[in-house]
Every structure is written in structure tokens, then in C-alpha cells.
Amino acid sequence: MSDKRLSITEGWVAAAGLVVLGLIVRLVAGPFRWDVFAWPVNIIAAALFIAGGVCVFLFRKKSPVLEFLGSLQAAVPAMSVAVVLTIVMGLVRQVPAGMTVRDPFGFRSMLSSWPFVLIYIYMEFILLQAILREITSWRWKAFPALVFHVGFFTVLLAGAMGSPDMAMLEMEVNRQSPQWSAVDEMGKTHEVPLGIQLLGFDIKEAPRIRYEADIQVLDKSGAERRTILAVNEPLTMDGWKIYLADYDAAMGSRTETVVLEMVRDPWLPAVFAGIYLMLAGAAMMLFVKRR
């Protein structure tokens, strides 16, 4: 049994230290590269992260540092520093993804900034320790917190690891022939497994303005699907979700083209599971007596 416990001071030192470390890493290695985590690196990293967390948990009694990693003394400073960096992100105009800008700390692309990434990883690790503790020293009073913790942990992990696998493409479809390619945020063209053609377009004025695109979607096997796309009413097909995004306003309902947003997000079910757990945890917090 360790009798030396680390205090909140060490917590602040650890959190601040990670920020400093992040700044140094940035100078040496450049911005954090999310594209490295495309499948299958992301699932391996997630598995290693969880395995590492479980190991630290299992050996926590052997070292005050390991014990500390699951404590409030670690959690509160970690959260606070994460909030501060997120505030910086909220105050500083962020550059669009893919653009680079000269920026000594990387705060103009905070999502690729090492201090930001490291502190959130640290927070996630502490969260995992808290979850393992709550599971192994079970108290029903802590159940809402456990559900909430698991939900937030899942959203962060699946959201972060899933982001390199996410594709958001823009496709301009026309009335003449099916389109089989779409463009990403940086203007690069990608082949997609769906061919889409515009058959008609309608703007309904009453009772409320509504834009409808009549489209035909083909897949590689030749199967056809004809449907009406409206704003807030996307089509799901072959793992892709297709949204109506824009049309040629100058031409009105005689528009020759519409712009569709195509989104693929294989990690989405995990993120949604996390979201629903968080909602359940929050609801439980309202009804459970804390005293």
C-alpha cells in the first residue's frame, strides 16, 4: 500500500507540464497529424489506450503516481486546463481544416495543436481510471455518474478516432447524367460508389418554404432508387447519408444543378451510443437523491 498520496499541486504541475510538453513537441514535430489515425490505426490506438488504462488501474496500488491518475486531484486540474485551452480556441479565429498558417503555438488550428490534444488525452485517461474504479467498487449511488462517464468517454474516443475515417464530400448533380464523384473540403475529387442524377426541383412556398430535389441514385450493382430530398430530410444509402445543400438560386426551380452533401461516418454508431448514455446519465442525475 502506498502511503504517499499526490496532491492537487502535482495535478496542476502535470496538467501545465503537458501544455509545455505539447508546445515543445510542436516546435520539433509540427502539428498533430490526425490523418495518421485512419483505419486501422485508430482502432489499434483505441484498443491500446484502453488496455494501457486497465494496466495502470490494475497496478495502481504499487505506485502513488498510478493511484493519482484516477483521483480528483488529477481530474480537476486536467479539466480546468482543458477548459482554458478550449477558451483560447473560442477566442482565436480558427483556420479551416487543411489550411496552414504561421502560428507559433498552433492555437489557430487548435484541433491539431499538441497541448490541446495532450490535455484531452490526459483527461480521457483519468476518465477511464474513474470508470474502472466505479465499476470495481460498485455503489448504486454512483451509477448515474458511471453511466455519464462511460458515455462521455465513448463520445470522446469514438469521435476523435472516428474523425479521420469520416468523409464529408460535396457533389454537384445535374439533369443530364449521373455523377459518380464528389469533392472534399480541400477541393480534392473522390470517386464515390453512388451515381446521382437530378430529375426535378421544386420550391414550395406555402405553408412554409420548402426546397425539394427529385433525384435518382444508382449503386455499382445497377440498383436504382428514386427519391425526394429536402432540407432536414437526408437519404441514407450504402453507408452514405445524402443531404440537399444548395441549388442555383438565380434559376429558381428551373435550376440545372443541385449541390448535395455526402457524409460517411463509420464510427457514428459508437458516438451515438455514447450520446445516449450521456443523456441517460444526465436524466438520472435529475432524479437521484444525492443526499
Binding site: I8, L72, Q73, A75, V76, M79, S80, A82, V83, T86, I87, M89, G90, L91, V92, R93, Q94, L111, G159, M166, M168, P207, R208, I209, R210, Y211, V231, N232, P234, K241, Y243, E261, V263, D265, L268, V271, I275, M278, L279, G281, A282, A283, M285, L286, R290, R291
Partner: protein
């Protein structure tokens, strides 16, 4: 045009709330609660009338969200009062609601009747209502922190006082969570992604994490009430930034889909 009728309803509601607050000071809870409830009914009648006349929920503009806040704040106040009988809470909530009403009186806005297509979703009303309620509850927590830090600074907050702050934050945070995640689910449906780090979303996350930090700090250092109360003040500042501050932030003005 609709806002021409607002002063009449607003004055009636505020007078009823002032009366309610007066009876709270006089330790007459039944009168205090009835009068405050009457004020809430009058105010809600205006909002309902507006909803019907506009043929859409009145929550698209800054002024309209302030209406909801001016309604939910005395509601939060009367809920706290009915549980704890704090003499001062109805005065504070009335005053704060009156501030937001005055902002509306002095900044009248012109509203178009139709809703942008992106807002014509069943998510719209619940997302905004839940957030406005959360803001009101957390506003009450802010008022509590102000009261304890300024008017009762000579003594340490009692356990009961801190319990009130905690209860308000747990409740407010739960509703913030509902609002934020509803926003994410709606965003996925409408825009294709559940989280785009839009400045509004970033500040919503900041606000959410601030209150989460309060909860964890309270568990870590229950005796350090001063620091806890300052966390509440700072958290509320982040909340205001998220709600309307981003409309004035240079970095957010032209980039956020939420600026309205």
C-alpha cells in the same frame, strides 16, 4: 409589430413578480408563490399569443430567446423559493428577469414571419427551450453565488446554502447536457455532422465543462467554498459568451452558423 404589445404584458408581469418578492421578504410564502405564478401566467400568455400569431415558435431571434429567459428565471426562482424559502431569491430573479425585459424594451426587433428552412425541424423548439431553462437555473446559481460572495461575505456559506448551489448546478448541468446533445443529434440530421467546432458549439462545450469542473471541485475540496463560488461566476461568464457574446466576437461573427 407584435412587440408593441409587449410593454403592457411585461409591466403587468413585473409588477406581479415585485409583489411576490415583497411577500417573500415578509415571510408570506403562499402570497409570494401565488403572485409570482400569476406573473408567470401573464408573461406566458404573451409568448403563447406570439407563437400563434407568428405561426412559429418565438425563438429565432435574440429578443425572442430573451423572452424565454425572462420567463424561466422567475420560474427557477419560485422553484428554489418553494423548496428553501430564501427571502431574497424572488427579488433577485425578478430583478434579473426585469433586466432582460428592459433589454427587449429598448432594443425592439423586427421579425419576419417565416422560419429559415434549416430551422424547420422538430428539434428546434426543444433544443432552445431546454437551453433557456438551463440558462435560467444556472442564472439562479449565479445569483446565489453573488449573494454569498457579496452580501454574506462576512460569514462562511452554510452547508444548506452550498447544497442549494450544488442542486442548481446539477439540475442546470443536466439540462445543458440535454440541450447540447440535442443540438448534436439535430446537427447530424441537418448538416451531416454532430460536432463541427462552430464557435457556438465550442463555447457550449466550454460552459458545460466549466460546470462539470464545479461539480468535481466541490467533491474534491468541499470546504473551499470561496473558490467554488468564483468558479460559478466564471462559468456564468462563459455561459453569457456562448449565448450572445459570440455575436460580438470578431473571431466568431463571420464564421458561425449560430450567429443571429
Amino acid at each position: 409589430m407584435f412587440w408593441n404589445f409587449f410593454p403592457y404584458f411585461a409591466i403587468a408581469s413585473v409588477l406581479l413578480w415585485v409583489a411576490g418578492a415583497f411577500f417573500a421578504w415578509k415571510s408570506r410564502p403562499r402570497a409570494a408563490i401565488s403572485l409570482t405564478a400569476a406573473g408567470l401566467l401573464v408573461f406566458f400568455a404573451y409568448m403563447l399569443w406570439m407563437w400563434i400569431a407568428l405561426e412559429r415558435p418565438p425563438m429565432r431571434t435574440q429578443g425572442e430567446t430573451r423572452l424565454w429567459y425572462s420567463f424561466f428565471l422567475p420560474l427557477a426562482g419560485v422553484l428554489v423559493y418553494s423548496r428553501r424559502h430564501y427571502k431574497w431569491v424572488l427579488s433577485f430573479s425578478t430583478l434579473m428577469a426585469a433586466v432582460y425585459i428592459c433589454v427587449n424594451l429598448f432594443k425592439p426587433e423586427i421579425h419576419s414571419k417565416t422560419l429559415m428552412p434549416a430551422l424547420q425541424s422538430p428539434w428546434f423548439a426543444p433544443h432552445v427551450i431546454v437551453y433557456m431553462f438551463a440558462y435560467a437555473i444556472l442564472g439562479a446559481a449565479f445569483l446565489m453565488a453573488l449573494y454569498l460572495l457579496i452580501f454574506k461575505r462576512k460569514s462562511k456559506p452554510s452547508a444548506e446554502d452550498m447544497d442549494t448551489c450544488d442542486d442548481l448546478v446539477y439540475t442546470g448541468l443536466a439540462f445543458l447536457t440535454f440541450g447540447m446533445l440535442m443540438g448534436a443529434l439535430w446537427a447530424k440530421e441537418a448538416w451531416g455532422h454532430y460536432w463541427a467546432w462552430d464557435p457556438k458549439e465550442t463555447w457550449a462545450l466550454i460552459t458545460w465543462m466549466c460546470y462539470l469542473t464545479y461539480i468535481h471541485f466541490r467533491r474534491l475540496s468541499p470546504k473551499n467554498t470561496g473558490a467554488a463560488l468564483w468558479i460559478l461566476i466564471a462559468s456564468f461568464a462563459c455561459l453569457q459568451m456562448c449565448w450572445w457574446g459570440i455575436n460580438y466576437l470578431p473571431s466568431a461573427k463571420s464564421t458561425s452558423v449560430h450567429v443571429y
